[in-house]
Every structure is written in structure tokens, then in C-alpha cells.
């Protein structure tokens, strides 16, 4: 399965394959499409297909639950099993309720920052880290589309401290060991006026969640 470019994942997501659907469909967030495909490829899960909602829903969580409901309805008849590759992701419990109603599983935890780091480890650290601003590899690459432009900092740079005055550091949760991306993340921190910290997380709880559904 070919991975679309980041801009396409941001704006349009990823369509499900038209030919020869597998047994399992993962309906995920476009922001973690690369990571899901990497895990799928590493494990040789040819029976698993992926479709993604636009990653920019990260900034509009109210669109996530209806988007998932529509995608499950569209693909339900074609697949034996559907898995939702989202955590709560700002839906305030609405996505969990929808998944229960639809009879599909989802990723545990509050958001991708948490499951990439491992939900238990993230929760343990969270109380001492409330002034951290997190970016995953995808969000580093798409920093302008997800942070800079939506906050209007391209047009009104004077608003930076209105948004970030209470933050102290940017934590780059690196899924891959990529020095070029680390450099970009450091530049993001400088643009926001924050200290920089890099934390190599790998795929965290995402791998176990996908394994559970793909090898069941």
C-alpha cells in the first residue's frame, strides 16, 4: 500500500483500497498513517487494510466521531473486522461511546502523544509535565499546517505569547530516529520560544493495539 504525501494525509486522509479488500480494516487518523503502515509492513499483515480520516481533524475533534461513524457504515459490509485507530483525541468520550455503539474497538488512552509514549508511562509523567507542548514526527513535518497557520502566527506573530506563555518546553516525541526531523523539531521549538527536548518513543502502545486486532 503506497503512503500518500503528508499534505494529502492532512487534507484528505487515505482512501481504502478498492481491489481485494483484506479481512481487517483499520480506520485511523491520517497523522498516524505512516506509523500504522510501518507496523503492518513489518509484520506482513496482508489481510489488513487501512483507510484514514484527514489528519487535520486533529485540530477539529468535533469532526472525528461523525467521520468514524460514516466510515464504519461505509465499510462494515466489506470487512470481517474493523478497528478504529484513534484514542479519545479531544472528543470528550464521544468517540468511545460511538465505538461501543458500533461494536468496534479503538486505541486506549487520551491521544497519540500518550499512546506513542505508552499510556502508563505518559500518565505517570503527565502531572510533572503540564507545561510541555508535544509534537510527533508527523506534526513536526506538518508544523505550519497544524500549528503555525491555524493559530494565525503567520499573520499575527504577536499572538505567540498569548498561546504559549504558560508552556516551557516542546517535547518532540520521535517515532523514528531521524536527525533531520530532530533539527526541524528544534526549529519549531525556537519559533515558539520554548526549550527543546527530544524523546525517542517508537510506536509505543500503537504496536500492541494493532497486533491485538490484526492477529486475533
Amino acid at each position: 500500500m503506497r503512503t500518500p504525501d503528508d499534505t494529502t494525509l492532512t487534507d484528505s486522509g487515505l482512501a481504502a483500497p478498492q481491489d481485494g479488500p483484506g479481512k481487517v480494516l483499520i480506520i485511523g487518523c491520517g497523522a498516524i498513517a505512516r506509523e500504522i503502515l510501518a507496523v503492518k509492513s513489518a509484520n506482513g499483515w496482508d489481510h489488513v487494510d487501512l483507510t484514514c480520516l484527514p489528519a487535520i481533524y486533529h485540530n477539529h475533534p468535533e469532526k472525528i466521531t461523525p467521520g468514524i461513524e460514516a466510515a464504519v457504515a461505509e465499510h462494515r459490509a466489506t470487512y470481517e473486522r474493523i478497528f478504529v485507530a484513534y484514542a479519545d483525541c479531544g472528543t470528550g468520550g464521544m468517540l468511545e461511546q460511538a465505538c461501543e455503539r458500533l461494536g468496534v474497538e479503538m486505541i486506549a488512552g487520551p491521544h497519540c502523544y500518550s499512546f506513542f509514549e505508552g499510556n502508563a508511562a505518559f500518565a505517570e509523567r503527565a502531572k510533572d509535565e503540564i507545561t510541555a507542548f508535544y509534537l510527533t514526527d508527523f506534526l513536526v513535518r506538518q508544523f505550519d499546517a497544524f500549528v503555525w497557520r491555524p493559530l494565525g502566527l503567520d499573520r499575527y506573530p504577536e499572538l505567540r505569547d498569548t498561546y504559549f506563555a504558560h508552556y516551557t518546553k516542546l517535547v518532540h516525541q520521535a517515532q523514528t530516529d531521524d536527525p533531520g526531523l530532530a533539527k526541524e523539531a528544534k526549529e519549531c521549538a525556537e519559533r515558539l520560544g520554548l526549550a527543546y527536548e527530544r524523546r525517542l518513543t517508537g510506536y509505543g502502545d500503537l504496536t500492541s493495539a494493532l497486533t491485538r486486532v490484526s492477529e486475533a
Binding site: 494565525g152 499575527y156 499572538l159 504558560h166
Partner: protein, 234 residues
């Protein structure tokens, strides 16, 4: 909204036109122009409360409506709020002197573990604009902060804000503590924040969930009116 503000001299406008121009300037986030407009209206003999309601709050209502309708976005609302803040800074001491009507008192803060305050600040400002006295507790507030401030200030309303799914359950901690202490019914409890919804507000025992700052103001007014009616009836 308008493209040719540079040519407009505020002091030369008729008062009606000036107020409309101030609505435009507020919409465009022009703080200096708002401050100038407020001073002109005061010089022309307007009561501070009239300036506040007819020039500033009415202008921010347009901003709030366009935000709700997806015409304006957060950055523009923040700039408008910043402009209104400039006008409010001039009016606040005058409002206290001139005995403007007081709607009630609100203690508001972002809950423990959460540092996000943009929405909370907008609510504070709009509540002040609507005639409420607001005590802003800032960010990362444990239950003690809310309860001590509410008692100390003899508040009518306790407002709680959270942006994170992980911090919004703390609102229930605050409300449960109020129940344990037998003081829950002493206050109107309003909650808000991006991941919240009406169902969550009901589930934790809040009086209301407020979708945005404008809704918070209307909800607060409604509850205060009910409280007064109950007192009158009782």
C-alpha cells in the same frame, strides 16, 4: 470588515457613525482605535456603562456570532478581545465610580493540571462586559483555590475551564467536594472547554455547560435571574 480605516478620523464622525466604526475596529482587532473611540464617547458625555454595552459589548457580540458561525477564527477573536481589553481598561475604574449595574460575581479558573486559558480569558472578559464582577484564578487550580475564593468573594458563580480530556474530570472533583461540604447549592457552577459537552456537564453535576463565551454570559444571566426570582418568591 472595512478596508479604508486609514482615512477615517474618529473624532470627526457623528456619534452613531463612531459607534458603528468602533464595531468595525473591534472586529478588526484595532486596539488603539478602540481606546480612542472610548475616550471620544466619554468626552461627548456618554456614561461609561453605555460605552461598554453599546460600543464594546455590542461589537464583541458580532465577533462572537461570526466565530460561532465559522466566519471568524480564534486568532481574529483574540485580536478583537485584545482591542476590547484596551477599551475595558479605560472604562473599568469609571464603571466602579459611576455605580454601573452589577449582575453578580463569578470566580473562574482553569482546573488543576491544565494551563490553557484562552477560552477562560474570553469568558472573563465577556462576563465583565456584561456587568459581572470576575475574580480570575488563572491556570492549574486545585479544588481548594475554587472553594476558598468562592467563599472569600461571596461569589454567585463558580466557573471552571479545561482543554484536555485528561483534566476535564477534575471538574467533578471540585463539584463533589462542594457536595461533601454541603455548599454545592450556594453556587451556580458553569463549565466549559473544547472537549466538554452538555452530557458531560450534566454527568458531573454542573448547572450548565457553556459552548462559548457568549453562551456563558447568557447562561449566567439566566441563572442569576432565576436565583433572584426564587429569592423574591421565597
Amino acid at each position: 470588515m472595512s478596508d479604508d480605516e486609514d482615512d477615517i478620523i474618529l473624532s470627526e464622525l457623528e456619534t452613531d457613525e463612531l459607534v458603528l466604526q468602533m464595531h468595525d475596529d473591534l472586529y478588526d482587532g484595532l486596539k488603539e482605535e478602540i481606546e480612542e473611540g472610548v475616550n471620544i464617547l466619554l468626552e461627548r458625555g456618554w456614561e461609561p456603562y453605555k460605552v461598554l454595552t453599546e460600543a464594546l459589548v455590542a461589537g464583541m457580540t458580532i465577533v462572537g456570532n461570526d466565530f460561532r458561525d465559522g466566519i471568524l477564527f480564534v486568532p481574529e477573536v483574540l485580536l478583537a478581545a485584545n482591542a476590547m481589553k484596551g477599551g475595558m481598561a479605560i472604562l473599568k475604574p469609571l464603571l466602579a465610580e459611576t455605580g454601573a449595574p452589577r449582575m453578580g460575581k463569578m470566580v473562574i479558573g482553569t482546573v488543576k493540571g491544565d494551563i490553557h486559558d484562552i477560552g477562560k480569558n474570553l469568558v472573563s472578559m465577556m462576563m465583565e462586559g456584561a456587568g459581572f464582577e470576575v475574580v480570575d484564578l488563572g491556570i492549574n487550580n486545585p479544588v481548594e483555590n475554587y472553594l476558598e475564593a468562592a467563599a472569600r468573594e461571596e461569589a454567585d458563580i463558580v466557573g471552571m475551564s479545561a482543554l484536555l480530556t485528561t483534566t476535564m474530570p477534575y471538574m467533578k472533583v471540585v463539584i463533589d467536594t462542594m457536595v461533601e461540604q454541603g455548599i454545592r447549592d450556594d453556587y451556580i457552577v458553569l463549565v466549559g472547554g473544547a472537549p466538554l459537552n452538555e452530557e458531560f456537564g450534566r454527568a458531573i453535576g454542573a448547572d450548565a455547560y457553556c459552548r462559548d463565551a457568549a453562551v456563558a454570559v447568557e447562561t449566567a444571566k439566566d441563572f442569576i435571574a432565576r436565583k433572584h426570582n426564587q429569592m423574591a418568591a421565597g
